[in-house]
Subunit: 239 residues, 2 copies
């Protein structure tokens, strides 16, 4: 009954469960300050909505954004990259697909001040340490989902960066977009270049909701290909 209520419906991805991440993460410096990024969460929410429309059951792990939960999607709100990592690991078991759309902070302040840091006339240094890599950790699991999709937001060298990420993290697909002062983040429209090991799709600029549907069609095709080529798919994929 839960599956029916939460988007596990008719469609090409019926019977499959996806975990999607969306939005930025906020890495606190003190109780009021944080390091963030310009992700609005719209692309990730659109992907979650499109997956649910295609019949999948969807767990959406969302960073701090002000967006309505898409219909039929199970939402888990988090703040930091480490919280997002924990939330993903808590629901990844038995998932058929993972789409990491969130702009996860690569670094966090080495320590968080308990009280607000007072202003002084002097400069100061903040030490940053690397955050866990959610996408790489998902892709490296023994029981990794059948399809693992990453996003890459780049200011230059889009294809090299995307293909590098595809190989380094052993992903099935990377969806890459160019970002800059007025591109990609914090806007309604977007364009994507999607890369697999052997193929490339250029999705022209359009509303993120329409773009997400095109991406989900590619993901569904990929998943069906994989299932037809392999006997490895476990029987109980809807746990």
């Amino acid at each position: 009954e839960l599956v029916a209520a939460l988007g596990g419906g008719e469609g090409p991805l019926s019977g499959r469960r996806f975990v999607v991440t969306a939005g930025p993460t906020h890495e606190p410096l003190d109780p009021v300050r944080f390091i963030g990024n310009r992700s609005s969460g719209r692309m990730g929410f659109a992907v979650a909505a499109a997956l649910a429309e295609a019949g999948a059951e969807v767990d959406l792990v969302a960073g701090p954004v002000h967006l309505a939960t898409p219909h039929g999607v199970r939402r888990h709100d988090v703040g930091t990259a480490r919280e997002m990592h924990r939330a993903v690991m808590a629901c990844i078991d038995g998932a058929d697909g993972f789409v990491g759309v969130a702009a996860v902070a690569d670094y966090r302040p080495a320590s968080e001040a308990g009280d607000k840091i007072k202003k002084s006339a002097e400069s100061m240094a903040v030490e940053l340490v690397p955050n866990p890599d959610i996408l790489a950790d998902v892709a490296a699991r023994n029981d990794r989902p059948a399809v693992v999709v990453g996003f890459a937001a780049e200011t230059r060298d889009l294809e090299n960066a995307a293909r590098g990420k595809l190989e380094a993290k052993k992903l099935d697909l990377v969806a890459a977009n160019r970002v800059g002062k007025d591109l990609g983040f914090d806007s309604e429209d977007n364009a994507l270049e999607v890369f697999s090991a052997g193929r490339h799709w250029a999705l022209s600029p359009k509303a993120k909701t329409a773009l997400a549907r095109e991406l989900v069609a590619i993901i569904a095709e990929r998943m069906l290909e994989r299932e037809s080529r392999s006997d490895e798919r476990p029987e109980s994929q809807d746990s």
Copy 2:
């Protein structure tokens, strides 16, 4: 005509012009990452709206927030603390009041990377340098506005911090509120303790719009007191 269209109307502050700052500032680390803070901008927008309701002409200098411009208020959008400083200085000449509600970043990264910083396995240090102090610079002007009001968001020692700010920056009023994980920032309600050199007002928790009206009543009282005690008020205050 401009004054009439932009909130210079009937009320206790009729004929006076105020400059108000609101929201956070975002200090870029690279094209996608920034240091921000949890200010929603709601308190500052509510103060601007309440000043306009009280008959004042209002210039609102707003950091990156998703809020509608209050009726009759002239809005100037900015991103960083330095942009906010410039925008305030561009409209402060001849203003009768200044209310600094913005949570201006005290520090910014010493340099902004032109391209997105790549993740590495290693920790890194970011050097932060102090931003200009908008409130202190406004209060230190030869032709400073008759009433200069600061805000203080504090995790502890509210009164000491507020009275310290009042003296150090030579302010007329400081409105202080306690912040923490679930207080003050990013919420609809707030409570304020307002301090002048000789007085104290405790404004109990309520909606920010109602709280802003109470604060504006204190500001208006202060301004009328000041005008009745002084011949220094320039004739052409509505320039």
